[in-house]
C-alpha cells in the first residue's frame, strides 16, 4: 500500500480584496495524482509558484483539498478524528529554520513533538537522544538554537520531526536559506534517514543536484505534474525541463551539449563521474560535493 497517495487533488486559494470580499480564485494545485511507496526517496521539483509548497501542506493536513483526496497511510486527511495520527506519521520540515524551532535549548526543541503527543517523560529523553544522534547533533544538545549555523538548525528541525517517529518526512525546501555546506549537511542527513531508518522522504526543492539521488522525481508546473520518473529519465529531457523554467544539473547539461556537438555520450548523465567514464577518462576520486 502507498504511504502517501493523492487522488485528483485540487486546491484553490481564494483571492480577497481589501474589504475581504471574494474577488476570484487561484488554482494552486490542479488534479495531482501522487503515489509514494514506503521507504522511497521522492523529489518534487518546480519553479516558484508551481504549487509544490501547497502540495506539501496537504500531505500534513495543514491544508485541506478543495476537491479530490489525500490519503496518508490509509487515513483521509479530512478525517478530523485521525488528525493527530496524520501529523505524527507525516513529519514536516519547513524552509526557515528560525521560524520552526520552538525550544530555547536544542534538546527541548526536539522534545516538543513528543511532549505534544503525550509521550512519558522517560521515553521523551530516549527519543531526543536517538534523534539527535541520528542527525549528528547530539553534542549540541545543551546549546541555544540561536548559536547554531543554518545547516545545524535545520538538522535540529529534522531531529524534532524524527523524535515523533514518523513514517514519512516532508521537507519543504529545507535548503533554500542555507549556504552550500549547510545544504550538503541537510541532504546528507535526509539520505541517511532514508537509507538507514527507511523513512520515506519527500523532498521539495528547486536545487536539481539534490534530486539526483531520489528514487523518483516529480516535476510540477502550474499545479500539475508535468514530468515524472527516475532522475535519469527526467533529466535526460533537457529541452522539456527548460520549457518548465528549470535547469538540469550542470553535468547533465554539459553532457547534453557535448552530445549535440556529436560526441558519443548517452543522455541522462547525472554525476561528473559518469561523464568522465562516458568520455573514457579516469574519474578523479574527489568528485563533486554531491557524489
Amino acid at each position: 500500500m502507498e504511504i502517501v497517495k493523492t487522488i485528483k487533488l485540487i486546491h484553490d486559494y481564494i483571492v480577497r480584496d481589501e474589504e475581504g470580499n471574494e474577488t476570484g480564485k487561484v488554482r494552486a494545485i490542479d488534479g495531482v495524482d501522487l503515489d509514494v511507496a514506503p521507504g522511497q526517496f521522492i523529489a518534487v521539483l518546480g519553479h516558484n509558484g508551481s504549487g509544490k509548497s501547497t502540495l506539501a501542506k496537504h500531505l500534513n493536513a495543514l491544508l485541506y483539498p478543495t476537491e479530490g483526496q489525500v490519503i496518508l497511510d490509509g487515513f483521509d486527511t479530512t478525517d478530523e478524528s485521525h488528525l493527530w495520527d496524520i501529523r505524527q506519521e507525516a513529519g514536516m520540515v519547513f524552509q526557515n529554520p528560525d521560524n520552526q524551532i520552538i525550544g530555547q535549548v536544542v534538546e527541548e526543541d526536539v522534545g516538543f513533538g513528543p511532549e505534544n503527543m503525550g509521550v512519558p517523560t522517560k521515553e521523551i529523553w530516549e527519543r531526543v537522544e536517538e534523534s539527535l544522534k541520528a542527525v549528528g547533533m547530539w553534542e549540541f544538545r545543551k546549546k541555544s538554537p540561536n548559536r547554531l549555523s543554518g545547516g545545524q538548525k535545520q538538522r535540529v528541525s529534522i531531529a524534532g520531526v524524527i523524535a515523533m517517529h514518523p513514517k514519512c518526512i516532508i521537507m519543504d525546501e529545507p535548503t533554500a536559506m542555507l549556504d552550500p555546506s549547510g545544504r550538503h549537511e541537510v541532504i546528507r542527513a535526509a539520505r541517511a534517514l532514508n537509507q538507514v531508518e527507511h523513512i520515506t522522504i519527500i523532498l521539495i526543492t528547486h536545487y536539481m543536484e539534490e534530486a539526483i539521488y531520489a528514487d523518483k522525481v516529480f516535476v510540477m508546473d502550474e499545479g500539475k505534474i508535468a514530468l515524472q520518473g527516475t532522475p535519469r529519465e527526467v533529466f535526460s529531457q533537457v529541452d522539456r525541463m527548460k520549457e518548465l523554467h528549470l535547469d538540469v544539473p550542470q553535468v547533465t547539461l554539459l553532457a547534453h551539449e557535448l552530445r549535440k556537438a556529436g560526441l558519443p555520450i548517452p543522455e541522462g548523465i547525472l554525476t561528473s563521474r559518469e561523464l568522465a567514464l562516458a568520455l573514457g577518462l579516469q574519474p578523479k576520486e574527489t568528485g563533486s560535493a554531491w557524489d
Binding site: K57, N60, L62, W84, R87, Q88, G91, M92, F94, N96, D98, N99, Q100, I101, I102, G103, Q104, V105, E107, E108, G111, F112, G113, P114, E115, N116, M117, G118, V119, P120, T121, I124, W125, V128, P145, N146, G160, V161, M164
Partner: protein
C-alpha cells in the same frame, strides 16, 4: 551592538541556589517581598538582611553582579528617599529655607530605602539563579489552580517562552534592517530625542511585518508537530520537588514566622 544584549540576567554556575526548584524561588521571593513590608523594626530588618545574605552566599553569584541590579534603580531609590525625607509631617529635626526634615521622615525614609534595596537584591537574585525557561515553567505550575477558573495558564506560559526565544532573533533582524537603512542614508544617531524616535518609525514597520510572518510560520510549524494546547501534554523536564526543596520551604516558613513574631511582639 544589539547582539550584546543578553536577556534575563541568568548567571550560569552550579550552586545550591541554582539547583533549587524554581517554584521555591518564585514563591520565596514573593513572600520575602511581602514580609519586607510587614516587619518595621531594626531587629526585623536584621533578620531579613541576614536571610538575604545567606541566600546570596548560597548562590555563589559575585556581589558585583547583584549590585549591578541596584545601579539601574538608583535614581528611583533617591527620589523615594528624598520625598519621604522632606514631605513627611512630624516633629522637626533640621530646618533650612523651605525644607524641614522631621524625625518621622528620617526613620521612614531609611526604612523605605532598606526595604527597596532588599527587594531589589532578592528579585535580582531570583533572576540571576533561575533561567527564563525555568521561570515560565514555575509560573505555569504555581498558577496551575487558576486553570479551574478558565485562565489559560499553559497558553500564557507558552507565549512567554516563545517571546523569550524570539527576542534575540528579532534583535538581530532589527540590526539588519537598521544597517540596510543606514546604507541608504537613514540617520538614527543625530538630532534630538523626537527626531530619533521619528527615525525609528520606518524601522518598526518592516520589523512588525516580519514578526507577523514569523508568527504565522511558527504557528504552522507547531501545528505540524501536533501542538494542540496544554491538554494531554507531557513534560520533558517536569518540575519535581526533591528533599532539598522541601527543606528550603521549611527554612522559608521558619523565617517568615520569625518575622511575623517580631512584628507582633513589637520588638
Amino acid at each position: 551592538m544589539l547582539k550584546d544584549v543578553t536577556l534575563g540576567q541568568y548567571y550560569q554556575t552550579d550552586s545550591w541556589m541554582h539547583r533549587l526548584d524554581p517554584r521555591v524561588k518564585l514563591l520565596g521571593t514573593l513572600s520575602y517581598i511581602i514580609i519586607l513590608f510587614v516587619v518595621n523594626s531594626v531587629p526585623g530588618y536584621l533578620v531579613c538582611g541576614a536571610f538575604l545574605l545567606v541566600c546570596v552566599l548560597l548562590s555563589r553569584v559575585p556581589f558585583g553582579y547583584i549590585l549591578r541590579g541596584l545601579k539601574t534603580i538608583m535614581v528611583l531609590l533617591l527620589i523615594t528617599v528624598l520625598f519621604n525625607l522632606f514631605l513627611t509631617p512630624g516633629e522637626p529635626l533640621v530646618s533650612f529655607w523651605k525644607f524641614t526634615i522631621t524625625k518621622e521622615g528620617l526613620t521612614f525614609s531609611i526604612k523605605m530605602a532598606v526595604r527597596l534595596i532588599f527587594l531589589i537584591i532578592a528579585s535580582t537574585l531570583m533572576t540571576l539563579t533561575t533561567s527564563p525557561n525555568q521561570l515560565t515553567d514555575a509560573l505555569e505550575s504555581v498558577l496551575g489552580p487558576l486553570k479551574k477558573l478558565h485562565v489559560p495558564v499553559h497558553e500564557i506560559s507558552m507565549m512567554m517562552s516563545i517571546a523569550l526565544r524570539f527576542i534575540p532573533i528579532l534583535m538581530e533582524e532589527t540590526d539588519k534592517i537598521m544597517k540596510a537603512q543606514m546604507a541608504r542614508g537613514a540617520d538614527f544617531d543625530s538630532g534630538n530625542l523626537i527626531n530619533k524616535i521619528k527615525a525609528m518609525v520606518p524601522l518598526l514597520v518592516p520589523l512588525f511585518i516580519s514578526a507577523f510572518r514569523r508568527a504565522n510560520d511558527l504557528a504552522m510549524a507547531m501545528e505540524a508537530r501536533c501542538y494542540h494546547g496544554g491538554e494531554g501534554r507531557t513534560k520533558m523536564k517536569p518540575l519535581v520537588y526533591r528533599k532539598g526543596d522541601v527543606g528550603a520551604y521549611g527554612v522559608l516558613c521558619a523565617f517568615l514566622a520569625a518575622c511575623i513574631v517580631i512584628r507582633v511582639m513589637g520588638v
